[in-house]
């Protein structure tokens, strides 16, 4: 009892420190933690866009957002803003020898103009420095307040033009926060935000915890677990645009780990109504429930493989948690992971080639990425340092993995390049952040 005022003091100090951190993050831009660097990272210069519109300039630095996006992927090494010594805004203004001297392979220039209907038009060009050639020249419409979104779209287009892979910066993430709001009282919330953590929007909140947000393939809904109902767990599907919720299951015992099939028709989930946690699939149109696993162990954390023909899940049927595979139509599970004491919470890349999971070794839990095609010693790569990393989820183009980590007694989110060479802590609201889930591609 005597510790309480002290605890309160400590938590207020902690809050203040976090507020300070959050402000710094917003003011200075986000820190990128280059882990090993990457030899093959492509040098690219993003020139600040010229403001040619009549209204006051939007405070968003398009170039800053694009630069951060490309760097975060680990595929690019963008020239630092202070090293951008010339400011062309059109292809015709680019002096290629300058960029060649700066050892840049590509240069992006652009400008913002009024579009006439109170909106704007962002024109941008991507040039190959060695060939002195324009690779891309596009104009994107943008409304006031949406400059970050259009910046992510530009980053995506540049990424795709150079790498031949669709960019995934113009996407959203979901995550859960827990904030202390009084003695033993918490506010738990589910949020969605841009892929870099900006523009957070609170979707739902409650005094009781939430778990396991999962995106529908069309990006319109989230499924999640709520403890808000007294004495049990409930799975909801929450429509983001309307806030309408559908109660999916609230059986006795665990109702957990929901995840949509790739076609969105079916939800895989964990129920313990039989006495212990088993994997089920629920057809969302017919409400037909099918039990996929039958074992006295803990079977949970189902993840669909692309195509929807099989699911991966965590089971401790061998004594410790490992990853297993089971056909979605039913069949006998087969073990997938062979090494490591603790493998859990798997998720698959869009092409099924890569699996991300939590790998535990003694008291250290790190994110492992397994290449199923490669095999051999290089097949398993640990892309996070631990000690308590969890909830990995792939970007829809599998270039990056989002995961949760603990720093002190606080949860934070990181985006790591899939090869582990680059890691970035995302801009975050205050409080304890966990359970990130990377959403699908969005329509431009």
């Amino acid at each position: 009892m005597t510790g309480e005022p002290m605890q309160r003091l400590i938590s207020s100090l902690f809050l203040l420190a976090m507020l300070a951190l959050a402000r710094n993050g917003a003011a200075q831009g986000l820190e990128i933690d280059i882990v090993n660097g990457r030899e093959a990272a492509i040098p690219i210069a993003i020139v600040p866009f010229a403001w040619e519109a009549a209204a006051m300039p939007d405070p968003t630095g398009i170039d800053t957002v694009v630069r951060a996006d490309l760097n975060r992927s680990g595929q690019f090494r963008a020239l630092r803003k202070e090293d951008v010594i010339e400011l062309p805004s059109r292809g015709s203004d680019i002096k290629f020898p300058t960029w060649k001297l700066l050892k840049q392979d590509y240069v992006v220039v652009g400008r913002v103009q009024s579009s006439g209907e109170g909106g704007y038009r962002v024109e941008f060009e991507l040039h190959d420095v060695l060939k002195q050639q324009s690779l891309l020249a596009l104009a994107l419409p943008v409304r006031a307040g949406e400059f970050r979104q259009v910046s992510h779209q530009i980053a995506d287009l540049v990424y795709e033009k150079i790498l031949g892979v669709r960019g995934a910066f113009f996407t959203r993430i979901a995550y859960i926060t827990q904030k202390r709001v009084g003695d033993g009282k918490f506010e738990n919330a589910i949020w969605i935000a841009d892929s870099d953590g900006f523009n957070p929007q609170r979707i739902v909140w409650n005094a009781e915890p939430f778990l396991s947000p999962a995106w529908s393939p069309d990006g319109k809904s989230l499924a999640y677990v709520s403890f808000e109902r007294q004495g049990g767990h409930t799975i909801y599907i929450h429509e983001l645009a309307t806030g309408a919720r559908r109660l999916v299951t609230s059986f006795k015992g665990i109702n957990g780990a929901p995840t949509f099939s790739p076609d969105g028709s079916t939800l895989a989930l964990t129920l313990s109504k039989s006495g212990n946690p088993e994997i089920y699939t629920l057809n969302l149109a017919s409400n037909n429930l099918t039990q996929l696993t039958r074992h006295f162990s803990i079977d949970t954390e189902a993840a669909w493989m692309p195509g929807g023909n099989s699911l991966l899940f965590t089971s401790d049927r061998s004594g410790k948690p490992q990853i297993y595979s089971v056909p979605s139509g039913g069949g006998s599970p087969e073990r997938v992971t062979s090494s490591g004491d603790y493998n859990a919470r798997v998720s698959a890349s869009y092409d099924g080639r890569l699996l991300a999971m939590v790998q535990g070794n003694k008291n250290v839990y790190r994110i492992a990425v397994v290449d199923r095609v490669r095999g051999g010693a290089g097949a398993v790569r640990l892309i996070s340092p631990g000690p308590l990393d969890e909830s990995p989820s792939f970007a829809p183009n599998a270039s990056m993995v989002l995961y949760a980590a603990r720093e002190g007694s606080r949860g934070v989110l990181y985006a790591a390049s899939v090869d582990g060479s680059v890691r970035q802590r995302l801009a975050l609201p205050d409080g304890d952040v966990r359970e990130p889930a990377w959403g699908p591609f969005r329509q431009r």
Partner: protein, 172 residues
């Protein structure tokens, strides 16, 4: 939490002493062996297993948390006496209802820990049922790692968080 319980125990003891004083001169030092006609089992005198006050006074009933080893749901020997007591209470009080809240430490994944918390709750439930409780008296709910007692990332906290808590939703 300890102090009110101690006061209650003391009060009960004094009440007991006062009741005895009428007949016996020095009851404290010398528990009278020859009062068997009145109270055949002297130590059990206050222990009416249908008196709700016992839940808050008898140490094995006051104690309501069982702790577990990492990734395990085996009941430790030190929790046995406590669980037998609660089983006995359930048997003596058919209306009593318990919610068993299973918890895990922060290590490992959240949904797996939800399973682990439930498994711990089930292990406690099985013991209560083996000791006189009936299945309709005992419910299990898992909170996984979502409700830690203590939030430091070390064994001193983890060992407190790996637990199953007995919560009476009805005492009798």
């Amino acid at each position: 939490m300890n102090t009110p319980i101690r006061v209650l125990v003391l009060a009960l003891a004094i009440a007991g002493v006062a009741a005895c004083k009428k007949e016996v001169v020095k009851p404290v030092e010398q528990p009278p062996a020859d009062t068997s006609t009145q109270t055949p089992t002297q130590p059990m005198q206050e222990e009416s297993w249908t008196n709700p006050a016992l839940l808050d006074s008898k140490p094995c009933l006051v104690s309501r948390i069982a702790y577990f080893d990492f990734d395990q749901s085996t009941i430790r020997s030190e929790a046995m006496e406590m669980l037998k007591c609660h089983g006995k209470w359930l048997a003596a009080n058919p209306g009593a209802r318990i919610s068993l809240e299973g918890h895990a430490d922060e290590r490992g994944t959240r949904e797996y820990n939800l399973g682990l918390g439930e498994r711990r709750g089930n292990a406690v439930r099985d013991l209560l049922l083996a000791n006189g409780g009936r299945s309709e008296q005992v419910g299990v709910v898992s909170y996984g790692e979502e409700r830690p007692i203590c939030t430091d990332s070390d064994e001193s906290c983890w060992s407190k968080n790996r637990r199953a808590e007995i919560v009476y939703t009805a005492k009798q």
